[in-house]
Homo-oligomer: 598 residues x 2
């Protein structure tokens, strides 16, 4: 059976020592999450994840969700009590302002603990996860009345939320959507249509479900310019604001999926359901992106979370399983064989995962911190700079962390040999669960296109130039530090490849947009490598500083950072040159075959 231990010490290292969390204590909410408070919050989250949530993970996979004849959905037996403990601990509203019942803590802290919860049970955490997105959309786009009506119960977690975008014939291309909204005469709308792939669309863990539904209002234009966002509750509220009569929305079926069996993925049928416009008429796409952006960072965190928990279990197995002898002579001569962690190829896998997880965590938290600054800083310049960064990094965090999430779940499973392929060890579940994160909230190909097609050129390339400047200056400033040289050298090489690829895109993407499309996935991963490499350079610098200053009893911890960072630079960063080489070949060969030749 898989186990899990939340990497609290590592999170604290990143937040406090690398990102200098205390420097932001002037931002709203940060003072409540500094020093001992931060330790306590992460510690409580770790306990909940390890002791309450993780034990439900395999149940969820085995039992799955069942749609009953009346359209209700039964979730795995152990889920409700775990969700209730999450809810009662106040985790749903951790980063929501106090006026709506939340704790107003930083979003970055929310992301930090979110990783732990998802490592413990990804499928279960999708119920609150979607609720977070719905809360964000209502918080940003709702009227004061809407906020007061819906948010407190959602923040409390007695009501949950969903996002209803996809229809059978359109996922990425929402301009084609057909769900209709007809004014019902008293300010509300009647919503009709079918939505598919609706995570947490129907279940038995909350008293009401608040669906946020994209639909086309009667008379609105075709395409994405005619789409509006509506609040459609499972139960229409009565005069006291409590769930009243059943609304015209039902779960038609649930999907049989490869993984995340504990999450109910629903076909939702809307049949003259009462709905309330949120945000501006025909402004649905903008409102949707509020949900999507936060959701994308959350999905990126899922990739990291599965990579981490799969890695931990591979490590345990590699230390326990004895098989064969070390190539350099027996390491456990008292046993019939050595533990397989002595074999270099097993270590190659473990180090690859470890060096990614630690940098991926830093990248996730760095980006989340920028989100805090973008939303909470009083300084216009800081806000703009942080918002630029957030927009640029969101597709990278989503696309790269989830691609690596699957890759590493597979890698960890491989460490188990045949035992990884049978379900009882739980490694298959990690692979099957991790797989979806590459697809939902915008398939990773769409993330890559968002990066090269939209984010790169935004405001004259301001965001990407700021990133290049920051990383370039880091390398420059530390050039004289001899102990950092192997790190800054490898980082600079990666940065050069990224800048060359960017230049190539500027010159060739305009000429032929297919060149940008053909480069997009490689470019996203190239950008991801340099971002992760930059995280490593900063972590190593911090670790070296600490070691030079006595290390406060954690010399091993910092020393291991240096080794793991060196592995990343030596073994992972060389991939940047292959990405650049591929990008530079352009779209021609890719587009040359006629469709019938495939």
């Amino acid at each position: 059976m898989p186990t899990y231990q939340a990497p609290v010490k590592d999170t604290l290292f990143v937040l406090n020592e690398v990102l200098g969390f205390e420097r932001y204590s002037n931002l709203p909410g940060f003072a409540d999450a500094s020093g001992d408070m931060l330790d306590a919050i992460l510690g409580e989250a770790a306990k909940l994840a390890e002791n309450v949530i993780q034990p439900t993970n395999r149940d969820g996979d085995l039992e799955g969700c069942v749609r009953n004849a009346d359209g209700s959905v039964t979730t795995p037996k152990s889920f409700k009590q775990a969700y209730d403990q999450y809810r009662e601990g106040g985790w749903m509203g951790l980063a929501v302002p106090a006026e709506y019942g939340g704790q107003g803590l930083p979003y970055s802290v929310n992301q930090a603990v979110g990783e732990y919860f998802v490592s413990a049970n990804m499928a279960l955490m999708m119920y609150p996860g979607l609720t977070h997105g719905a809360i964000a959309a209502i918080h940003v786009h709702g009227t004061e009345e809407q906020k007061n009506t819906w948010l407190p119960k959602m923040v409390d977690g007695v009501w949950t939320g969903t996002m209803n975008l996809t229809e059978p014939h359109c996922g990425t291309d929402l301009g084609m959507l057909r769900t209709k909204a007809v004014p019902n005469g008293n300010g509300a709308y009647k919503i009709s249509g079918q939505k598919i792939f609706i995570s947490a669309g129907e279940h038995d863990m909350s008293d009401n479900i608040v669906h946020l539904v994209l639909a086309r209002a009667e008379g609105s234009p075709e395409g994405i310019k005619g789409i509006s966002l509506f609040i459609v509750p499972k139960f229409v509220l009565d005069a006291e604001g409590n769930p009243g009569k059943r609304n015209g929305v039902t779960c038609g079926s649930i999907e049989e999926k490869m993984g995340i069996h504990g999450n109910s993925t629903c076909v939702m049928n809307y049949d003259d359901a009462e709905g309330y416009l949120i945000g501006e008429l025909n402004g649905g796409m903008r409102a949707m992106f509020t949900m999507m952006n936060e959701a994308r960072l959350g999905v990126g965190a899922q990739g990291l979370a599965i990579s981490e928990v799969a890695y931990q279990n591979a490590v345990n197995y590699a230390k326990d399983r004895i098989q064969g002898r070390s190539l350099t002579g027996p390491k456990a001569p008292d046993k019939k064989a050595d533990p397989i962690i002595v074999h270099p190829d097993i270590r190659r896998s473990l180090m690859t995962m470890k060096s990614f997880n630690e940098a991926g965590r830093a990248l996730m938290l760095w980006t989340a911190l920028k989100s805090d600054i973008a939303h909470r800083s009083g300084d216009d310049g800081d806000r703009q700079q942080a918002d630029d960064h957030l927009g640029l990094m969101t597709p990278i965090v989503k696309g790269v962390l989830t691609d690596k999430g699957l890759e590493h779940a597979v890698m960890a499973q491989q460490v188990f040999g045949g035992h990884g392929y049978v379900e009882e060890h739980g490694m298959s579940q990690f692979v099957r669960d991790a797989r979806i994160a590459m697809i939902y909230e915008g398939a990773n190909g769409i993330q890559a296109l968002d990066l090269v097609g939209r984010k790169l050129g935004l405001n004259g390339g301001r965001a990407v130039q700021a990133f290049f400047k920051e990383v370039g200056e880091f390398c420059e400033e530390n050039r004289a530090v001899e102990s950092l040289a192997p790190f800054t050298k490898a980082l600079k090489k990666g940065l050069n490849d990224l800048q060359a690829a960017t230049m190539w895109l500027m010159q060739n993407g305009m000429k032929n947009p297919d060149n940008a499309g053909a480069a997009s996935t490689d470019y996203m991963h190239l950008f991801g490598l340099v971002s992760l490499g930059y995280m490593w350079a900063r972590m190593v610098k911090t670790a070296q500083d600490r070691l030079a200053n006595g290390a406060n009893g954690s010399a091993d911890f910092y020393q291991n950072k240096l080794t793991t960072g060196r592995f990343f630079m030596e073994r992972v960063m060389p991939e940047t040159q292959a990405h650049l080489a591929r990008i530079s070949t352009g779209a021609e060969t890719m587009m040359a075959l006629p469709a019938e030749a495939f």
Copy 2:
């Protein structure tokens, strides 16, 4: 529902035009498989695969195998009739000599049609697949009496075979195995012990099951030097050679697995089961490798087969699914959106798979042809050269083709977006099925170690030097052919990287064996890329020759080869430099962390 069309034209292109199949007509069996005969054999296999075997694939996944209370195993309902048609078509004995009831055709033809059958239903094909391995072991190591006793019924397929190696505490490290063999006084042995992960160990499709079991005879030394191979039938034969009394071997349970649900993966309990020594006492490892080597090529073919069928379904979906508009303006203006095959990033995936499948097929068939020469040629030099090649390429075909098999199943699934994640489209099954091929018959890390630790240095590096010479000479000879220059240049660059990596291994692997272990997986993939690149260079040369000579009505076919080959050189080959860079960093960083630091 997935579909499948056997790539007969492509197989014929490789066998006839690239590999010059007709040049080998002096080898036994080849004359019966040339020209129209080859067309007919492949055509019949295609029909069986497409019309009979493929329709059972999803059934197998959904129904799985069931172990009944009496220890018997029920396979999916549609399997038996499909297996019977396979059997009655004579496919089991295609490459087995006529004296044992086979057709004596080339092994390369067997591999060619094997790809089709596995694309159609991988789980079903494991029943005959394991039988092939058992037939090979008995054929090579059995006495004349053993061959006459067991082979005809196995070749006919009314009896099937298995390989029993793994035990709960040992898979890779067979020296630790505990299954015992005690002489029973009349020349046979009593076998006792437990074997796990036994594919096709118990089922309802054949009248007898011939288990080949590794066990330690009483008094034999510890370790792998004390292991012998035994024939242990499910039913002991009576005086007429028919299945008689039930032997002491039972299926204790079957595994719940990630995929290949249609195959029964059994825990087999041996309790004083009657067994017959095959080959020499304590010579079991050698006999086992006869089974393993053929099985490894078969597993490599599984990787290719799943990559091919997953690709075909991704192509169909990409042509059907409309979503978004081409970056260069609408391509299907009459529709609400363009088919997604217009998007460069979708094409990147399709071309990556296509360019691999075609070269992978060539590599598989080239290696299979070498196996034919090694076993059938009358010329000592030819036999030795072919055997060298076969030994060198076996771990590469197994390791690289199966790693790519999973990668491409995932890539094809991604083309489907959310529809790929739900089980009904069958793309998840391809991923779940493909996953096992990286693990069984020696996990891919073991293949890599076999390559760098054993095959590379064998006979003073004779095999690898011959490969370098052949590829180098191809580049040299074609240097003046302008149309080939982009191909030979890219191939030469890859070859240089491979030679540099080989040199590095020679210099550093001796000094510290961990350097070889640390390099092994990268080296295997680097070698795979150059091998596939060489296949492309040869295919392109052939296509150019044909185009220059009128192309015989297939100009499009050859033209597409040029484009696909160019894609491979531009987009896939650049990876060689990243592999070399990683290899050159050695084992130090990888081995530096103490086990407790993970």
